[in-house]
């Protein structure tokens, strides 16, 4: 079972012979000064010791052992030997430093990943190589890429304030600095970086239940805590007043984003009646695509459907789904989303 082996990179790291190939087969008569000494120090390896007997392994009960040890109250209380990370960070010079976030003892530790998502596996095995083939750009031998000129302006003059200042943006209002698209290689194939759900509920200004329920629904379908947002300006037409909570977002990354997208593409979107697809006019010019879903469509998510009655009627919100990719233009991002199964309709932008 070749598939049961470790991932290729790990395996190759373990199996790689660090020495150059010429020295790979040393002569049998080769002796080192330390050979005898090592034998004297460790006459047998720890790997040669057999594991505990099967009988011992079967009867081993960690709970009973721990109870036996604690019997009689002779053991020290946990606070005397268990490490507890400090609640507040008191600076790098403080003797009591918190452990790194990746340590399960840390207060900030977030467990995961819990699975290897199917979409991720499909991307690695099929989609990435297809995208590389599709977007391949041939350069003839001897080609050298033209030099890119500086798009930002220098600070001109001999004022000391101009020394080492960051460059100035282009002149004028309309000229936007677009992202540069580097030549496509196997290192920069577009991939999905995160997915954002955004739901705006102006009714929440008069009745906060709307925002709570919108938050519950978003959390249920995204598996991520929401962030509520206040209105930044008053807009009369939308009945939005400045400073009131009107919307909620949740941002999914890695495993959550992959599971959400496969759920969306394989379960929810096929069940929507007469869904035309993602509008072709979407895209912000730098590889992020977004589309909206109505309240009826949000209710089709299996997490909401399973206890649909728990949500008050007509309070399930609609939402916008933004898929962030690390493509640098809309064309590449659209190619990636089409490859994972999102159709586009209408005139395509970019």
């Amino acid at each position: 079972m070749a598939l049961r082996e470790l991932p290729f990179r790990t395996a190759s790291t373990l199996l790689r012979d660090a020495r150059p190939a010429i020295c790979a087969a040393p002569p049998a008569s080769c002796r080192y000064a330390s050979t005898e000494a090592v034998k004297q120090v460790e006459d047998n390896s720890s790997f040669s010791i057999p594991p505990p007997s099967e009988q011992l392994a079967k009867t081993f009960d960690p709970i009973a052992r721990s109870r036996l040890r604690r019997r009689g109250g002779k053991q020290l209380p946990p606070s005397r030997y268990q490490f507890r990370p400090p609640k507040y960070y008191r600076g790098p010079l403080h003797p009591h430093q918190p452990p790194p976030v990746s340590d399960p003892a840390s207060r900030l530790f977030v467990p995961g990943p819990f699975s290897l998502p199917r979409l991720e596996q499909t991307y690695q095995s099929t989609i990435a190589s297809d995208l590389l083939t599709l977007t391949y750009q041939h350069y003839p031998p001897g080609y050298r890429a033209p030099k890119v000129t500086q798009r930002l302006r220098e600070w001109q003059g001999d004022h000391p304030y101009f020394k080492n200042r960051p460059l100035r943006p282009p002149r004028g209002k309309g000229d936007v600095l677009r992202l540069l698209t580097p030549p496509r290689t196997f290192r920069n194939i577009p991939k999905i970086t995160k997915v954002t759900l955004h739901s705006m509920v102006p009714l929440a200004q008069s009745n906060s239940a709307y925002l709570h329920i919108a938050g519950m629904a978003l959390q249920a379908i995204s598996n991520v805590r929401i962030t509520p947002h206040k209105a930044r300006h008053s807009v009369v037409q939308w009945e939005v007043r400045e400073g009131r909570f009107v919307s909620a977002t949740s941002t999914m990354e890695r495993e959550d984003a992959q599971h959400f997208l496969s759920k969306l593409i394989d379960v929810v979107l096929p069940r929507i009646k007469e869904w035309k697809g993602v509008p072709g006019s979407t895209g912000d010019g730098s590889g992020n695509m977004s589309f909206g879903m109505t309240p009826d469509q949000v209710a089709l998510f299996p997490e909401i459907e399973v206890n649909y009655d728990a949500y008050p009627p007509k309070m399930i919100p609609g939402c916008y789904i933004t898929i962030h990719t690390d493509a640098t233009n809309d064309k590449d991002a659209r190619l990636l989303l089409q490859a994972i199964g999102l159709p586009f309709y209408g005139k395509l932008k970019g």
């Binding site: 960690p62 721990s66 095995s125 041939h138 003839p140 033209p146």
Partner: protein
């Protein structure tokens, strides 16, 4: 078009036959939006190798690497599945408790069932075994020797068992008696399809339902008895069109295929022992094959009445291709085949 690109085009045009037409077009095209602001390149910046007028030529072939992508997820390494189980149990310890009354209303049958099940497995999660994330004994999250909780088949069994165990009407019957033959057909949950198919057991290399976790490639046996990817010479057509034509000529129309992109993904060069003289007066010293990538969506290869004289075909994964093709061919093609 600015001066820099004109220079490039002139260079490419002057270089003669060493640059093909599509490359020449590429040179004169804009590469990216950034190239619009390209500075004037001096003549020495583009190094096009000079052409030597020779009478030697190569026969040009198009090959098609027709593949069926993996259909199911791969088996996890035992270390991976143990790691995932460990992380899930850590999650039980760190996550907020399950919001029970949001999902089960009080004094309903669903609530009774929930109470009964949580007493058995101690945790809302159904696939991490009997483990409680809260309390004094939450530290005991490691599996003992021989435990099966991290095995995916065991987890699937547990999930199905949990879904089927809806409890009896009086509610106090042990689940063991429920699992007996008295269960109604409607309560049966559909089992997942086996990951190893019949074709795997019989090692049927002509079947597309073999090796569902890996990419299968179509290999054919040509007139000379060598196993190769389907290939043919091509004349006045593009590589993309030639690939489509070769698929129809070799394996029939009963396949739904997609030729990926317009550029080849690899090439193989075969030198003849003694040069041939072609009709146009060139010395043909070898053959070059450029491989196009294609995917099969549906259908099956059928070699009946094929125009390329093929006698047999096989669907093989990368490791098996190594044993079938000759060594030189393998070294040319191995890097364009997917590991999985």
């Amino acid at each position: 078009m600015n001066t820099g690109q004109q220079t490039t085009r002139r260079l490419a045009a002057g270089a003669g036959r060493s640059v093909c037409r599509s490359c020449k077009d590429t040179l004169s095209r804009k590469y990216a939006s950034a190239a619009a602001a390209a500075v004037q390149t001096d003549d020495s910046s583009q190094h096009i190798p000079p052409v030597s007028q020779t009478q030697d030529s190569f026969r040009i072939n198009t090959g098609v690497v027709l593949s069926r992508p993996p259909q199911i997820t791969r088996d996890l390494h035992p270390l991976e599945s143990a790691f995932f189980l460990y992380q899930r149990r850590l999650n039980e310890r760190t996550a907020l408790p399950f919001t029970r009354y949001f999902y089960y209303k009080k004094r309903t049958t669903a609530d009774l069932e929930w109470k009964r099940k949580i007493k058995e497995r101690l945790t809302p999660a159904r696939d991490i075994g009997r483990y409680k994330g809260y309390g004094d004994e939450a530290w005991n999250d490691e599996l003992l020797v021989g435990a099966k909780e991290s095995d995916i088949h065991h987890q699937v069994e547990k999930l199905i068992e949990d879904a089927e165990d809806t409890g009896s009407p009086d509610g106090d019957v042990a689940p063991a008696s429920n699992a007996s033959g008295t269960k109604k057909e409607a309560d049966k949950i559909e089992r997942p399809m086996p990951r190893i198919t019949e074709a795997d057991l019989k090692n049927d290399v002509k079947s597309l339902s073999r090796q569902l976790q890996r990419t299968l490639y179509l290999l054919v046996k040509d007139k000379e008895g060598r196993w190769i990817f389907p290939q043919d010479t091509f004349g006045k057509e593009t590589l993309h069109n030639a690939a489509g034509r070769i698929l129809v000529d070799s394996c029939g129309v009963n396949m739904n295929t997609w030729v990926v992109g317009n550029a080849p993904i690899g090439h193989y060069q075969r030198d003849y022992l003694d040069a041939l003289k072609t009709a146009s007066g060139f010395n043909e010293v070898g053959a070059k094959t450029f491989f196009m990538k294609a995917r099969i969506m549906a259908g099956q290869a059928n070699l009946k009445d094929n125009k390329l004289g093929l006698t047999d075909f096989k669907w093989l994964v990368k490791d098996e291709i190594k044993n079938e093709v000759d060594r030189h061919y393998w070294h040319s093609v191995k890097n364009m085949l997917a590991e999985r």
